[in-house]
Assembly symmetry: C2
Homo-oligomer: 207 residues x 2
């Protein structure tokens, strides 16, 4: 018996292979969804045999949940950074930019997450309720406080955040459509950055 689950020190080779597997799984799961992904695909992509995969993980589900819980941390980080002490408009606009950067730099992660939610998130619900919800509530309260203090116009903080998520992640989740419709313009993210900054600035600026 080896030691992938219990809390001992993982060997160098274990570290390497588990990382390779999760890398490959990110590729495959984000492209085909949970049910559409196959262990063989993941194994090939990771450069391992299928039984070798299952030496490191207890099964398909195990790989998937490991991936998702690792992702959640990264995913929520830009929101965590939003500071209640800062200038409201600056803080929110900076958050928009961080989210857009993530859509550009981590599109597979964005798509994995999107696909999960899309399919009813049977293996993500608890993460959403346990980690996302409290953070979301906290940051909405911060924004609401800004509104109440007259530092922002009357807006619904929850729907503002939804709109930020939607409009930034769109560039990762719908990248194919975007690239078709913009004729593969190489400056898409630069233009998007400017567009989103203008848009959120105009809606957050007091009249």
């Amino acid at each position: 018996m080896q030691d992938t689950q219990t809390h001992k020190k993982p060997s160098r080779i274990q570290q390497r292979n588990r990382t390779a597997i999760l890398e490959a799984a990110l590729d495959v799961f984000s492209q085909h969804g949970y049910r559409g992904a196959t262990l063989d695909q993941i194994a090939v992509q990771a450069g391992l045999s299928k039984p070798n995969l299952l030496y490191y993980f207890d099964g398909k589900e195990d790989i998937h949940v490991t991936l998702l819980s690792q992702l959640m941390e990264t995913w929520l980080d830009p929101l965590v950074t939003m500071d209640a002490q800062g200038n409201p408009v600056d803080e929110i606009l900076a958050y928009v930019q961080r989210k857009l950067d993530m859509a550009r730099d981590l599109p597979r992660e964005s798509r994995l997450f999107a696909g999960e939610i899309l399919q009813g998130a049977p293996r993500l619900r608890s993460e959403l309720e346990g980690h996302l919800k409290p953070l979301f509530d906290e940051k909405c309260a911060v924004i609401q406080a800004w509104v109440d203090a007259g530092q922002l116009p009357q807006i619904d903080p929850r729907h503002l955040v939804f709109t930020i998520w939607a409009s930034t992640q769109h560039y990762a989740d719908f990248a194919l459509q975007v690239s078709i419709l913009t004729d593969d313009a190489p400056d898409t993210f630069a233009v998007a950055s400017d567009h989103l900054d203008r848009m959120f600035r105009s809606m957050l600026t007091l009249p």
Copy 2:
């Protein structure tokens, strides 16, 4: 041999069963994606046996493409309606509302579409390039003309449309997340409607 492909008159029973199959397929494909969906699931949902399915369609792929090409028409309709002769702000805001209505009334269709794009749209590319792209270009030109005429502030029409799509479809595609984060508020769409109207109005109103 029967007559599902050739262009004769379909019998009443054929009409009914093909409709039932596509209904069921919409459910299953939108929930699990193409590869994750199974013919058995679709058959059960449609109240037919699997071989009976395959009497009406040539295979899984056939069901899928039929569904997608039927959907595309419905999907583009709100954009078609946007009128170059109308008032720019009113036209765009009305388009936003039509898209939001669609997210509320046709969430499965939205998710099917989203899942397709997410997975690289191998069976949708031609539809996107053939139908969506020309319409998109046409309507972007209309918006650009409004901008050039000084009836709208300087905005990038393409990214405006992306933002409209993203922010409205979000309520269908990420419905689960939205419902968790809003504690299942029953008035989500009403609040969203108000929020989006305000947002786009503020960004489209000349300073």
